[in-house]
């Protein structure tokens, strides 16, 4: 009995050791980024492995330099607004389309849903040029609408919500129908609140992908007043290409909103991955 318990303890300890090592490996790039941001340029390009920590003092002024050179307030504002609107639009359109595909009966439903699935199967780059031409002809380049446009409708979200609605018992809707609810009331008051967890998953996925999106903001935003953090960082590469501490300070500032969002919604992030089976 005692040897069984000892074995269990050993297994647990080994598991923890492996997990600690893996966590350490995952954290190294972030630690490296923050430590490089606090070094001098010479220290940052040193190949001496003992120069992990800054040797000539902690250069917090790198953050000041990059903060003053680039309008980070505008970048944060644009990024957060883009994330907000993409999440709102994606959740709104996906929940309505998901309900229609999951619960309603109408001619051509399967054919239309196949179109949605096809959209998931082709690379997103294919849509870039038509989307750019549409946004451009609407006069929406360098605008929030231009940034949000490709994320307003999501095939993945429609699929996710359709599955969510399909999983709900029919009795609920039938009971609401007997109570006199019309289709709109059944949707808004009964069915939609029950798919909250799927909507949260979709919101989290949309937010993360919007934050990471580099190509679209680079195409659609050509001025610093309308661009996002990812595209702003890309532009900084030209200005501070060889100044790694400044670049890393900018990168550290850029990941802050996502870290804050993650800390606040940690539980939902984990649940979201478990619900959808996706990865971020």
């Amino acid at each position: 009995m005692e040897s069984y318990e000892a074995k269990q303890r050993l297994n647990k300890a080994l598991t923890h050791v492996v997990l600690i090592i893996m966590s350490f490996i995952m954290l190294v790039p972030f630690a490296w980024m923050i430590l490089t941001a606090l070094k001098t340029n010479q220290e940052s390009i040193s190949v001496n492995p003992f120069y992990i920590l800054p040797h000539n003092g902690w250069h917090w002024e790198n953050f000041g330099t990059v903060w003053l050179s680039y309008n980070f307030i505008t970048l944060y504002k644009n990024t957060l607004l883009m994330i907000f609107w993409r999440v709102v639009c994606a959740c709104l359109t996906a929940t309505m389309a998901g309900y229609a595909f999951g619960r309603l009966k109408f001619p051509g439903k399967n054919a239309l849903f196949s179109l949605v699935l096809i959209q998931m199967m082709v690379p997103a780059q294919i849509f870039i040029i038509p989307q750019y031409l549409m946004v451009s002809s609407m006069g929406m380049l360098n605008s929030m609408f231009g940034l949000v446009f490709p994320g307003m409708v999501t095939a993945f979200g429609t699929y996710l919500l359709k599955t969510g609605y399909e999983g709900l018992p029919k009795d609920l809707e039938e009971a609401a129908m007997i109570d006199g609810c019309n289709i709109g009331q059944r949707f808004t008051r009964i069915m939609m609140p029950l798919t909250r967890s799927s909507m949260v998953s979709l919101g989290i996925f949309t937010a993360v992908f919007a934050f990471k999106d580099l190509m679209w903001p680079m195409i659609v935003c050509t001025n610093a007043q309308t661009t996002t953090l990812s595209a702003g960082l890309a532009k900084m590469q030209g200005q501070y290409g060889s100044e790694y501490p400044t670049m890393m300070a900018a990168a550290t500032l850029a990941v802050l909103p996502m870290v804050i969002i993650y800390v606040i919604f940690q539980k939902q992030f984990v649940e979201g991955i478990a619900t959808s089976g996706g990865k971020l």
Partner: protein, 227 residues
């Protein structure tokens, strides 16, 4: 319509006996979604109308500097110099200079990045007028036919003044040409290298295959002292 009128009448009747606070809470309770939709529609209408009237949609000129070592983008001295030189009215159209673009078409996998994809997208969409990059990189991109053949059509006449600077490549599309064609203009001895230090070992300018403002490219060359 009749149904809506009856509904409004019955709701008005219902609200008659309520105090103002109760009226508001009733409306908020039962009509929050409708109010939200109306507010959303109003917001979008105002937003679209504003952009339709106040956004500058067109460009005078759009150029990208690929792998530039210095910032030559928005607000740079190079851009400002060109605007002053050209005399373009920025209240009508934009002059776009972009130096946030990095790829190496000469290397296997060197174009597997968002920079290259967005660069290609702006060419294919007809937004980009010209691009400047290192010679080897340029030739690799030009082989795919994304820059104008400077010996064909209107381009031949327009860019004849800088024939001695032409850079040639053999296009992938053999049906177009089986011999080398001029696709770029060598700018290695211009201010881009000597004054602004954008490139170390010279650079080449290509006119985008779908450029809508080739005359602005000529003006840019003239700004650099090539005329």
């Amino acid at each position: 319509m009749e149904r809506l009128r009856l509904l409004l009448l019955s709701e008005r009747e219902k609200l008659k006996g309520y105090s103002t606070g109760k009226k508001l809470s009733y409306i908020a309770e039962y009509y929050w979604l409708h109010l939200l939709l109306v507010m959303g529609m109003l917001f979008f209408t105002v937003y679209f109308v504003y952009h339709a009237f106040f956004t500058i949609r067109e460009n005078w000129f759009y150029i990208t500097f690929v792998n530039s070592m210095q910032d030559a983008g928005e607000g740079s001295a190079l851009q400002q110099g060109y605007i002053d030189y050209s005399g373009y009215d920025l209240s009508q159209k934009n002059v776009l200079f972009n130096s946030a673009c990095y790829f190496d078409a000469t290397r296997q996998g060197g174009t597997n990045n968002a920079y290259y994809q967005s660069f290609i997208a702006t060419i294919e969409a007809g937004a980009l007028d010209a691009a400047v990059m290192e010679k080897d990189n340029f030739i690799k991109v030009a082989e795919s036919g994304r820059f104008q053949d400077l010996s064909a059509g209107e381009a031949a006449e327009r860019f004849a003044f800088c024939r001695d600077r032409f850079v040639y490549c053999l296009p992938y599309d053999e049906t177009y040409s089986e011999t080398e064609i001029p696709v770029g203009i060598d700018l290695s001895d211009t201010a881009l290298v000597t004054e602004y230090g954008l490139y170390e070992d010279g650079c080449v300018l290509g006119v985008s295959a779908y450029s809508r403002h080739p005359e602005a490219v000529v003006l840019f060359l003239s700004y650099l002292g090539i005329d």
